[in-house]
Amino acid sequence: MSREDYEIVIGLEVHAELSTKTKIFCSCPTEFGGEPNTHTCPVCMAMPGALPVLNEKVVEYAVKAGLATNCEIARNSKNDRKNYFYPDLPKSYQISQFDMPLCEKGYVEIEDENGEKKKIGITRIHIEEDAGKLNHNEFGGGSLVDLNRAGVPLIETVSEPDIRSSKEAENYLRKLKSIFEYIEVSDCKMQEGSFRADVNVSVRKKGASEFGTRTEMKNMSSFRSIVRAIEYEADRQIDVIEEGGKIEQETLRWDDVSGKTFSMRDKEDAQDYRYFPDPDLVAIKLSDEYIENIKNNLPELPESRKARYMSELGLSEKDSNLLTASKHLSNMFEKASAICKNHKLVSNWLLSDISRILNEKEIEADQIPFTAEQLAKMITLIEKGTISSAIAKKVVEELFENPKDPEEIIKEKGWIQISDEGAIKEVVQKIIQANPQSVADFKAGKDKAVGFLVGQAMKETKGKANPQMLNKMFIEELKK
């Protein structure tokens, strides 16, 4: 049998750090960074006798996330202890939720491989606390524990095993990320680990009714790695089965450098977490009114923004999709359009050159270094004819390297477009003299020759000549 005879089944558990100001069970700041162990107190250091008190904002944010992903919100919920020993876990238990999560039975809509709409089920969303961080001493001599992150609130979103390809997995993750960003419950900064996924992969023969045995890859925080890891792991599993082997249920580690997965621990030493209700905390009871109130105050979600772009701005479905996929991109679009009043041009630039550079740099829209104001200024400069598109491309590159007012950039770099008729004419005449063959071609009816000549003129002026003026003047001169 070949790879085509198999179906990949993927389930994702996403951990998103909530952007509350304070931790989930104490009033320490959640801020990223800071000297080790400075954002700590007796509670998050698990000093003897210290007690947790649930941050109400955490519940509110989790309910928001649940509502935005079509979940049912539990009126009665509780916190449970998950017991295990690890140096980054100061209490030797993590306060999480076991059998009564805040949100259950939701879904998000994504596009599948063929661009068709598909619902991915969400089993549950629950609240829990993050662990600290171990800093491994590169010179040997052990590891140091930093508890700044201990107690930072997380929501864990568990999907149904509805995902069938690495592409769908990526689409689902991007969708979830954008929803959380839109409703402002998490900044989803993957590079800081505030949006990360445990990836469960299994394969089965197409048409089979039972799932295959799954393996899990933990704590993955880049779309590229996740896609590669799924592809690799699915191939590996198919190979094992094709060779008559059996898949072991185990936890794997994805190594980005070698592009392979490695076994971390197998089912044999599976931990018994001894979940039980945390007696230090009281039951979480939510009223219908409380939930209704959050529902009524949810910010605009990507779906409705997309609909608005299509109906009000006349953007294509494809462009609207791309723009709204990230709240940061969409916000930049709205802000820049509002300033320069040319949403079409803003959209084009965001989806072409800017997206291309983001891809090349492997960064996300939230890491765009320049502001919407700077982008709008550049669009205005194009519209006024101060710079050509060719120059604008260079301006965008420069904005990524050295973000500042585009007007200053073009002044400093001497990139102001030549729109002076005398100067353009001079260039045109020079190029005509140097390219007699093209002139002859034009006269023989080959209109394309003009394009070549314009290109030569742009080269001569290092892209600064106004291309529309060049085009017009070449035709005039050649027709003489």
């Binding site: 698990a46 003897p48 006798g49 030797s92 945390d278 007696p279």
Partner: protein, 490 residues
């Protein structure tokens, strides 16, 4: 009378009418500790010098009218599982032998706000697990009534220190009887308040859903006064109740006419010593004389409550004590090559046998495959126990039982038999299981001259009723006026 024999309300009066000064009182207690501590061994940490210094400071401030407060300068002792900033908090465990808390427990803040003088940290069974204080990792505490007997536990150091006059009152903690049983063994008053009445913030957790801090005092009036200090909502403890503050001393009416007292016959059955039963009968008689209506009824929960208690308490303890892992504070083994060694050897070397026994038991009952049969079942029984008590309190104002099945036993007598030790909690644990308030007051001596305690149980937040019923008996019987410990070796 000696200064150290006075109650706090008596000290307060003498301070008010200038018969005594704060430094005189402090000096008297420092001398008393000097004299008696070598026999009793109630303390883990003694703060005599600190106390004298603080006494002078407070005295000056009071003179200068900079501070007020009726309890300024009153000495106090603190069980060594209540966190005290800058002072060792050991839980009488090798695990925390050198641990100094970076913060004060909420009750400590309240005590300090009253400008009381902390004389030191008091010995206990390791992590409050035990009923004799013999499981302290440091030393045995002796019963002031007979130095060959245990003071009870786990707040044995607390009860012994108060009984011996080394502090006028002290704070203990009670998870299954750890205040009431030692109070009974040492002939003093001990109260476990309703769960949620006193903040647990800063009490090193043994079993979070059962633990409660409470007073051990010489008499009921002092108990009411110390309760006034430590109660109140604390936003740092989610399980602390937000209730209006009351002045418990106002509840001491010395009148029980028409009160309905229930006598659960199961608490007077097998395993309860004849002498204890007899003194309780006398107490019942006394209440009748005082005008209370006394009635026997059936409360068939004691045996279930004990099993339920040991499952829930151990389950919670197994998780609560996970933080003692040798990583951030406390004991770390010198013998390790890897992470697993640090955990295993630190905990093996620094926890005593009783603590290990309970961690193992608790881990077992929470394990997958056993959870439903033990932990879940225990929680269901817990609900039943609560319902049985609710039913009883629809008929009675208070319930009267022995505090412990026997008087204080000999040192070493039960140490090797944990099950027998667990049975010593049989009268007290159901109160914790149901989250109710309970108070133990002395009601007589046995033939050996050891105190016998009786327990009054009330419904949730009925501390005022309990205190009044206890007070009325105390005023009628005058135990403290008639008997005092003699520090004998019998």
């Amino acid at each position: 009378m000696e200064i150290t024999e006075l109650t706090v309300h008596e000290l307060k009066e003498k301070l008010a009418n200038k018969e005594l000064t704060i430094t005189e009182i402090t000096k008297a207690y420092a001398d008393r500790i000097e004299e008696k501590e070598k026999d009793i061994g109630a303390f883990v940490t003694i703060l005599k010098e600190d106390a004298m210094k603080k006494a002078q400071e407070i005295e000056e401030k009071v003179k200068a009218n900079e501070i007020k407060g009726d309890l300024s300068g009153i000495p106090i002792g603190i069980k060594d599982n209540i966190c005290t900033k800058g002072i060792a908090t050991t839980c009488s465990s090798k695990m925390l032998e050198n641990f100094v808390s970076p913060y004060d427990a909420t009750v400590m803040e309240k005590v300090n706000n009253e400008n009381m003088i902390n004389f030191g940290k008091l010995n206990m069974d390791e992590f409050a697990m035990g009923g004799s204080t013999e499981y302290s990792a440091f030393h045995v505490t002796k019963n002031p009534w007979n130095l060959n007997k245990v003071p009870g536990g786990s707040s044995g150091g607390v009860a012994a220190a108060v009984a011996a006059g080394m502090v006028p009152w002290a704070l203990g903690s009670d998870t299954g009887g750890s205040i009431r049983q030692p109070a009974s063994f040492c002939g003093v008053v001990g109260m476990k308040p309703t769960y949620g009445l006193v903040s647990r913030y800063g009490l090193v957790a043994f079993a979070s859903s059962l633990d409660q801090i409470g007073p051990i005092t010489k008499d009921v009036e002092d108990c009411a006064m110390l309760l006034n200090v430590i109660t109140g909502h604390d936003e740092k403890d989610s399980t602390s109740e937000n209730r209006e503050k009351v002045d418990y001393t106002l509840s001491l009416k010395n009148d029980v006419k028409g009160m309905k007292i229930g006598i659960p016959k199961e608490f007077y059955g097998e395993g309860i010593s004849e002498e204890v039963k007899q003194k309780l009968e006398e107490a019942i008689q006394k209440y009748k004389e005082l005008g209370a209506e006394v009635e026997e009824f059936s409360l068939d929960i004691a045996n279930y409550a004990l099993a339920t208690y040991y499952i829930i308490a151990c389950a919670e303890a197994s998780s609560n004590l996970g933080r003692f892992d040798g990583i951030r504070y406390g004991y770390r083994t010198p013998n390790y090559e890897n992470l697993k060694d640090i955990y295993k050897n630190s905990r093996t070397e620094a926890f005593g046998n009783e603590v290990k026994r309970r961690i193992i038991l608790g881990t077992y009952v929470l394990s997958s495959g056993y959870y439903d049969a033990y932990y879940k079942k225990a929680q269901q029984v817990r609900t039943l126990v609560q319902a049985k008590f609710d039913e009883a309190f629809s008929k009675y104002d208070v319930i009267l039982t022995p505090t412990a099945p026997t008087t204080a036993f000999n040192i070493g007598e039960k140490k090797a038999n944990p099950l027998e030790m667990y049975l010593a909690d049989i009268c007290t644990v159901s109160v914790n299981i149901a989250g109710l308030p309970g108070i133990s007051i002395p009601c007589g001596l046995d033939k050996e001259g050891m105190p016998i305690g009786m327990q009054l149980i009330g419904q949730k937040f009925s501390e005022e009723t309990l205190l009044n019923v206890a007070y009325t008996f105390e005023q009628a019987v005058k135990f403290r006026e008639n008997y005092k410990p003699e520090f004998k070796n019998i």
